[in-house]
Amino acid sequence: MKASLIWALLAKDLLRIRRKPGPVLIQIALPLFLVAVLGFVFGKSDDGGSGMAPIKVALVDEDGGDVAEFLERVASSPEFEEYFDLSFRDREEALSLINDNDLSGVIVVPEGFANSYMEGTDETLVLELIKNPAQSVYPAMIEEGLEALVTGLNTLARTFKNDLKGWLDFLEDDDRTLFSDTLILAGLLQDTVDHFEAAREYLNPPLVGFQSEIRTEDQENEEDSSFSVFAWIYIGMAGMFMLMVSNAMNSDLYREARFRSLQRFNTLHEGMFVFVAEKMILTVVVTLIAAAIMFCGSALVFGFSWATPLPVALIVICYSICAAGLTAFIAVAAGKEKRADNMNTVIIMGFAILGGAMFEPKQLPSAIRDYITPYLPTNWFISVVRDLQFGDDGTAWASIALKLLITGLVLVAFSSFLFHRRLSKGGLG
């Protein structure tokens, strides 16, 4: 009787989801969509490039001086060309291209900019940026790049203000003699070197730097075949969205109370344990279905393969049970439908972020990294699946799967008991 009753309840709920699949489908589709966007913007493309087309930007040089020349030289470097397609235009032509949506932005170097900069004038110099309003991301990226350039120019001007003026006078002096040139040049060089010496402690060692890794062709081929930024991001996203799906299913208990169907059930059956147990089973089943779609779908959509499918599948099953228990526990602790919805969303986001769904746990503050992250089921799941996917075959996945399973079962049992007790005492708010 109990088994057939649970089956009847389960069949009804699955039918309801089939009739109105929107909420569950959104939870499944959202991580695929987010990973696609993030992957295409920041991931590697097939040709090893950035994965996005170079940003088209025009430079209007109304100054005719050294700044535009400097930018032209920078733009011709391969690193720059990978991200930006810089062309020189006059203002009218550039604006017309923006109107036709052929440019993402235009940088205008105003007349007299280079001279004023080198002379160290007190008035603020302005570089003009015209953004294409029809585009959103690319103009913002140009603005970021320009801000970096302006910061660099400001730093240079503040540190070497007097030197720049001296160098300008020297270069523009038409009455130079060989003797005077040598003396002036020596003085300018001495001053500039002194300023560099003064700045040494700030510049060396640098606060931020990078080192190019020299790699063999074999090493590069090996990494390209195993590492996928899509897979790396997706594991974190899946960890979070499986909790979201579980949460949506657990909230159904509150909806049943609101629809009075829970009350009607109670007019036919003594106790509600079967009803609560069925919701837990439903949550696990739907989370597993969602996980299967997420994990298989992501591999198909983004063209990577799971390195160790069986251990990953087992961990996903254990994590689904853990997710069901965790979200049920938060839901029942909340006591009211609206409070449960709000609490669960916040807590799930917290579990995801602190568990490493969005960043490497190494990047988190040390207090969180050492005292919180290691105890979060999201971290157990995300870490072990990433380890399995990206190289550490010897990871103790079985013990982590067991830990997820036991935690999940304990939470499911405890939440069911609490739900049941709450219902027996007069229902859910």
């Binding site: 009787m1 057939s4 009753l5 009847a8 309840l9 009804k12 039918l15 309801r16 009739r19 109105k20 629809f259 009075r260 169907s261 009350q263 009607r264 059930f265 109670n266 007019t267 036919l268 059956h269 003594e270």
Partner: protein, 310 residues
């Protein structure tokens, strides 16, 4: 043997006494009506009767045995139709019926057959495959009723099953309920519609503030008002004191006094023409006098001092 016996039932929520020493019984083939305004204690009484709430005092017996001695069997003996719709709007009418049938213990094929019969009886066969969300209010009410009947209960508890629907839909539901009684089913029916209680119920309990004030057949309740004569006087009675009028108290009993209306019942058997003559001679401005048979509302008025329709 009674299908349902409620004896000395009391239920309180903190300081509020929702049901106070209520007793009545429902026999096979009988519709027992609990009539009272909103908040009178009707739904609480039904909730205790079907085991959703436990009473603070008193007993509930189903088919002769105490409800709580075997709550599962007691629940299986009854079908409860809640006042608020308890349906899955994403599912269609047939799916709702079959689901609740299975929850009540029917096998899949039994549930299918029973659902077909009920859809026919409730005149919903042609809309059986439409989602409930697309049903009218009356159709939802009928499916809500059908869900409680899937397991053929001997006792049906109906908590205001016609609230908020049009007269045509209400008439359909009432006709369906009357037909159920012919099969020997006992029904506890709560309502605040006088007409429903008058036309449907074999016996009626008038309930207010958690207490049953009077109980009996419609005729018995009407008799409480005296010899079948009620006079409704329209006029101006704002400052009037009927008890001070000469000879009035010996001939009439005031049922209700408003600023513009006075309702009185005669004392003893009297000639209506004499009564009318006496009323028109009263020292008050009277614009109109109407003679009528006492209704359930008049009984309610007399018992509670207020109109059930207020």
């Amino acid at each position: 043997m009674s299908l349902l016996e409620i004896d000395g039932l009391s239920k309180r929520f903190g300081e509020l006494i929702a049901v106070d020493d209520v007793s009545f019984e429902v026999k096979p083939g009988e519709i027992y009506g609990l009539l009272g305004p909103n908040g009178a204690g009707k739904t609480t009484t039904i909730s205790v009767a079907c085991g959703l709430l436990k009473p603070n005092r008193g007993s509930v017996r189903v088919e002769g045995r105490d409800f709580w001695s075997d709550p599962q069997q007691s629940r299986q003996a009854m079908g409860v139709v809640p006042q608020e719709l308890a349906l899955y709007e994403d599912l269609n009418g047939r799916e709702n019926l079959e689901f609740w049938g299975k929850v009540a213990g029917l096998k899949s094929n039994e549930a299918k057959e029973r659902a077909t019969d009920l859809l026919e009886a409730l005149t919903l066969s042609d809309r059986a495959k439409d989602p409930v969300s697309k049903y009218s209010g009356g159709m939802k009410r009928r499916i809500n009723l059908g869900c409680a009947l899937m397991h053929r209960p001997k006792l049906i508890l109906l908590d205001e099953p016609t609230v908020g629907i049009d007269p045509q839909a209400r008439a359909n539901i009432l006709a369906f309920i009357k037909a159920l009684v012919d099969d020997g089913v006992g029904i506890l029916y709560t309502t605040h519609y006088l007409e429903e209680a008058e036309s449907l119920c074999d016996r009626i309990g008038i309930i207010d503030h958690g207490k049953i004030l009077a109980e009996g057949t419609l005729a018995e309740l009407q008799e409480r008002l005296g010899q079948d004569q009620i006079f409704v006087l329209d006029g101006f009675f704002e400052n009037a004191d009927p008890l001070a009028w000469d000879g009035f108290d010996a001939s009439f009993r005031v049922i209700q006094k408003l600023d513009t209306q006075l309702i009185v019942a005669t004392r003893g058997e009297r000639d209506p023409a004499d009564c009318l003559k006496q009323l028109l001679a009263l020292p008050a401005q009277i614009d109109n006098v109407m003679l009528k048979r006492p209704s359930l509302n008049d009984a309610f008025l007399q018992l509670t001092g207020r109109d059930l329709r207020e």
